[in-house]
Each structure stands twice: as C-alpha cells, then as structure tokens.
C-alpha cells in the first residue's frame, strides 16, 4: 500500500517536473525575446533592453528556469507586467472564484450523472432509458459557452431572476456574501456541468449494465432482490472504478471549461485572468497560470489513482 502511494507520488512529481520544463521551453522558443513580444513591434531597443533586465532575461536559461521553479515552490513568484503584483497573489485572489466554481460544477456533474445513469440502467431498454440517452447525446453536443448564453437568455433576460454575470465577492465588505457569491456561481457551474454530466451519465449507465451481467448479481437476483435493490447493493460499488476514472479525466475539461465560462459570465477567476493575460501579452502570468492549471489536472489524476485503492479492495490487496 505504502509502496503504491510512493510510486504514484513519484510519478506525480516527475510529471510536474516535465510539465514545467515544457512550459518554460515553449515560452523560450518564442520568435524574438519575451520583452519584444510584450512591448510589441514599435518598442525602442532601449525599452526592450530595460524590460529584459527587469525580467532577468539577461541570465542563462537554466538559471532562469531554476529561479522560476524555486520561486513557484516557495510562493515567491515574479511580478505580473500588467498588474504589477506578484502572480502568486493574483492567483490566490482568482482561485477564490475558480476553485468554488470547479467544485460546484463537479458536484453537480456527479450528482446529475449518477442519478441519470442509475435511473437509465434501472430502466434499461424502456422509455426512461431512451429518454436519458437521447438527452445526454444532445448534452454532449452542446458547447458549454452556448449553454451558458442560453441560461443567461432564460434566467437573466427573460425571467430576470439572476444577473447576467459578474461576481459580488464572498464577504459583506466586498458588497457580497456567501449566498450572493454562490448564487452568482450557480449558472456558470450548471453550464460547465451539463456536458460533463451527459458524458458521465452514459458512462455510469454502461458500467452499471456491464456489472449487472455478472454472476454475483444474477445470484443476488435469484435470491429475490429486485433489479433496483441489486443495483444499489451489489452493482454500484463495482461499477465505480470506470466512473471515477472518467470523472477524473473530466476534471481537466472542467478546468479548461472555466476559461471560457468565466469569460461568458465575466467572473474574476483564473480563466479570465489567463485570457486577459494573453490579450495583454503578460507572459509572466500566462506561464504561471498554465503551470498552475496543468498541476491541478495532474493532481486530480493522482487523487483518482489513490481513490481506486479505497474503492476497490482487490487493488488494495494488490497494492499491499
């Protein structure tokens, strides 16, 4: 068990190390220097030289790479060019919106997907099943930002229940609070969750149906359990592994989905930060945000790997 965890952790660290090299190298491959890209074509050579010195670009690449990674690990990051604030501070502020949004969306996804998947599997080949499958097929095809716009059209333009975007903040000092904050994140989370829930519901259904054909379930049914009882007691846990894998992979989509959805709802999160950083050519922020998002995706995959062992006793024995 310990060996398994150590191996997975080592893989996690190695992946992050490679990812950091790639992010750093890609921005190194820039046509021209980063300072020229930031300042644009009209910059004077003096201004470029000054910014290069400010960014530390006059030092060799390996030194700068180590400085960058060391800074990230100690929370001592470079200053954003357009905000003139350390990126760690920017990220910490923006994560207060993006993390709750991602968690809400993931919760909605799992609740919707498990509910619909179990319902469809219990009514296999009947009307409910066909209905869920049809809706989910449509759900997969809907772009999340279009669904977001449709939600705004319905709830903000027509019904005028919620505002069409923006975020009031989590505290009363900022003019918001817990409930106004959650309310502002509800539609964005829903638009992120729809597509993911549609995919996960189909996955849940087919995983449940696969397990239902196994001998132990037939035995349970023969002992007199109804289809629904057998499903909840014997099938669900066994079907969780592929469902968990999928949910883990989906988190990556969810994270990148926030980039688009935060822009639709004008939420001050990490997604909007990276979009603005690209527009402002603030490469310091782009580099750190891309690294953060990649790290989040890898971290969630690590957690899913570790969860397998909790869910599946066979793996726990194998890992021991």
């Amino acid at each position: 068990m310990l060996w398994f965890v150590v191996k997975r952790l080592a893989g996690f660290v190695a992946t992050l190390a490679v990812a950091s090299v790639v992010v750093f190298a890609v921005l190194e491959l820039l046509p021209g220097s980063a300072a020229e890209v930031i300042l644009g074509e009209t910059a004077t050579p003096e201004a470029v030289a000054a910014l290069q010195a400010q960014l530390g670009l006059d030092q060799p690449a390996p030194t700068r790479y180590l400085q960058w990674v060391g800074g990230l690990l100690q929370g001592d990051t470079a200053r954003s060019i357009s905000y003139d604030t350390p990126t760690s501070q920017l990220l910490a502020e923006r994560l207060r919106v993006t993390l709750p949004l991602a968690v809400m969306a993931m919760l909605l996804t799992v609740v919707l997907a498990l509910g619909l998947g179990i319902y469809a599997a219990a009514r296999h080949h009947r009307l409910g099943d066909v209905g869920v499958m049809t809706i989910s097929q449509l759900g997969i095809a809907i772009p999340n930002f279009w669904f977001a716009i449709l939600l705004i059209l319905l709830f903000s333009v027509q019904l005028q229940w919620v505002s069409a975007g923006g975020f009031p903040g989590w505290t009363a000092d900022e003019g918001g609070g817990l409930w106004p904050g959650l309310k502002a994140l509800l539609l964005p989370a829903l638009s992120l969750a729809l597509v993911q829930a549609a995919i996960l519901a189909r996955m849940t259904r087919s995983a449940l149906l696969d397990v239902m054909r196994e001998d132990h379930v037939r035995t349970a049914r023969a002992k007199g359990l109804s289809r629904r009882q057998a499903l909840l007691r014997h099938v669900l846990r066994n079907a969780l592994i592929p469902v968990l894998t999928m949910a883990g992979l989906q988190f990556a989509n969810l994270i990148t989905g926030t980039i688009v959805v935060e822009n639709v709802f004008v939420l001050p999160g990490v997604g909007r930060l990276i979009f603005q950083a690209v527009s402002n050519r603030d490469l310091v922020v782009v580099r750190d945000v891309v690294m953060l998002l990649a790290a989040l995706v890898v971290l969630v995959n690590l957690l899913v790997d570790l969860l397998y062992v909790v869910v599946d006793p066979r793996l726990r024995r194998a890992a021991a």
Partner: protein
C-alpha cells in the same frame, strides 16, 4: 479476445453487408445526414450565399427573420444565414486539418511503438507512451492559449493546438490495436518470410487497426469543432472578417436584450454538427466492430 475478431486482410473492404446494416442503423443514418448537411453548407457557401456574407448594411440591422433574410440580420445588417453557411467552412477546415495532423502523427508514433515493442525494443514503446501520458496535463484549450500567447491569435494557431492535442489520443489507440495485431499468426508468418517491420506495419497492421481509428477520427472531428468554436468565441481562433460560429456567438452576446435569437442560431449550428459527427461515430463503431456492439 480482440485480435480474433479483427478484420483479416482479405475482407477488409466495406462489404455490401456493412452498408445494408448501415442503412438500418438509426444513429448512423441521422448522424450521416447531419454531417452531410454540414459539408453541403460549407461547399455551397464557396460559390453561393443568399446575401454577400460580409456586406454591411446598417439600415437593415437587427431585422427579425423574414422572406428576404430567413434568419434575420445582425448588428451590422449582415444576413445571418449567409454568415452561418460561410462559418461552416472554418469548422470544417479546422476539423479536417487538426484531425489529419493528429491522426497522421499519432498513428505513426503508435505503430512505431507497437513495432518496436514486437521487435524487442520495448523501451521505445515505454518512452513514447509515457510521453503520451504526460500530454494529458495540457488539454487542447490550455495548449491553444499557450500557443496564442506566443504566436498571436489566429486560425493556424488553433489548428496546430487542436492537432497537437489529438496526437496522443490517436497514438494510444493505434498502439493498443497494433500490439494485438503483432501477436497474430499471419504476422508471425510474414516475419518468418522475412518482411521488414515497416512492410508488416504497412500491409498487415494498418488495414487491421483502421476501424477504431476511423471511429476516433469522427469523434475527434466533433471535439475539434467544439474547440474551434470556443477559441473563436474568446477571439483567439478565426479572425474577422472571416465569419465563424464562435465569433458570431460572441457578437450576439452583447445584443442579447435587443436580438436574443442571434445567440441561438450559431449555437444550434455547432450543436447539430457535433451531434451529427458523434452519432455517426457511434454508428460506425457498432458497424465496424461487432465485438463492441455485443458488449453494450
């Protein structure tokens, strides 16, 4: 036992039986019709649109649907239907090139990994697959944004980003299927006859792993359309004046109170295209791989 059910070289062509079954497969039929409509819209727009798509006509702005403008006009008085038809071009161009790039590179790497593994060089396989694992840390949109930050926004950047994302997807599928083919008796016979790994891959492996790759190409095409739309919506993909569905949605969002329907049409076009390709992919999977069909 996957290999036993793979199509053998002698009968890999689309036999009449497949087409007879295809016509009775509901999702394949619906998907093909929708996909054909997408292609037809793009092809038609190359030489005809109801109105010139980029012609600005301010006095006729924000009109509701009418006989002259079936889907109305936008804030600049441009005909929405014409814009949608031309917008299909961007989606198809991105889909075809990005999937072609991903499939071309991915299948080559996947086949290389499988061939090296079968010929006692497992470490090449190991390295290639670890690289494929690693790329999952960079979803398409994230790599597109990274590339945009460097090379500036544009159609080419988004094609490359979506294409790169597809490489490991195809590499994995090609490798998995090819490893199974390399264990088959007819490959052993071909090796005994002295065929080089390259020729075995060309004549025996590729024809036998085509089915899952065709299915994946359809699904990846749909994903590429979604990614292009998202990038264009953010202003990082197709650039004006070339119309694209994502950009049209972005324009429509600021006019939601005056002309809500403007935000409906482009999204519906994206949804129907993606739905068509996904349904066609599902259908192809059933039709080309009887084993998967039985597992459902």
């Amino acid at each position: 036992m996957t290999a036993g059910l793979l199509v053998t070289p002698g009968n890999s062509g689309p036999g009449s039986g497949v087409w007879a079954r295809a016509r009775r497969h509901p999702s394949f039929v619906v998907g093909s019709v929708l996909t054909a409509l997408l292609v037809a819209a793009a092809a038609l727009s190359l030489f005809w649109t109801p109105w010139p798509p980029t012609e600005i006509n301010i006095p006729h702005k924000l009109q509701s649907p009418s006989a002259a403008h079936w889907l109305g006009t936008d804030a600049l008085g441009r005909d929405v239907l014409s814009l949608l038809l031309v917008g299909a071009q961007s989606s198809i161009v991105v889909g075809v090139i990005a999937v072609g790039l991903g499939a071309g590179l991915g299948v080559t790497l996947g086949c290389l990994a499988a061939a090296q593994r079968a010929n006692g060089r497992g470490w090449v396989d190991e390295i290639l697959m670890r690289c494929a694992d690693f790329t999952f840390a960079f979803p398409a949109l994230l790599s597109a944004i990274l590339l945009t930050a460097i090379y500036g926004p544009g159609l080419l950047t988004s094609i490359v980003a979506i294409g790169i994302f597809n490489v490991p997807v195809f590499a994995r599928i090609a490798r998995g299927a090819a490893v199974a083919v390399w264990t088959r008796d007819y490959v052993t016979a071909a090796r005994a006859a002295g065929l080089s790994p390259w020729r075995i891959t060309r004549w025996h492996v590729l024809p036998n792993i085509a089915s899952p790759l065709i299915v994946q190409a359809t699904i990846s095409f749909a994903t590429a359309i979604l990614a292009e739309a998202a990038l264009s919506y953010l202003g990082l993909g197709t650039q004006p004046p070339q119309p694209s569905w994502g950009r049209l949605l972005n324009d429509a969002q600021s006019l939601m109170f005056q002309a809500p329907m403007l935000a409906v049409w482009p999204g519906a076009a994206i949804m129907l295209s993606v739905l068509g390709l996904n349904l066609m992919g599902d259908g192809l999977r059933d039709l080309l791989d009887p084993k998967l069909n039985r597992q459902r």
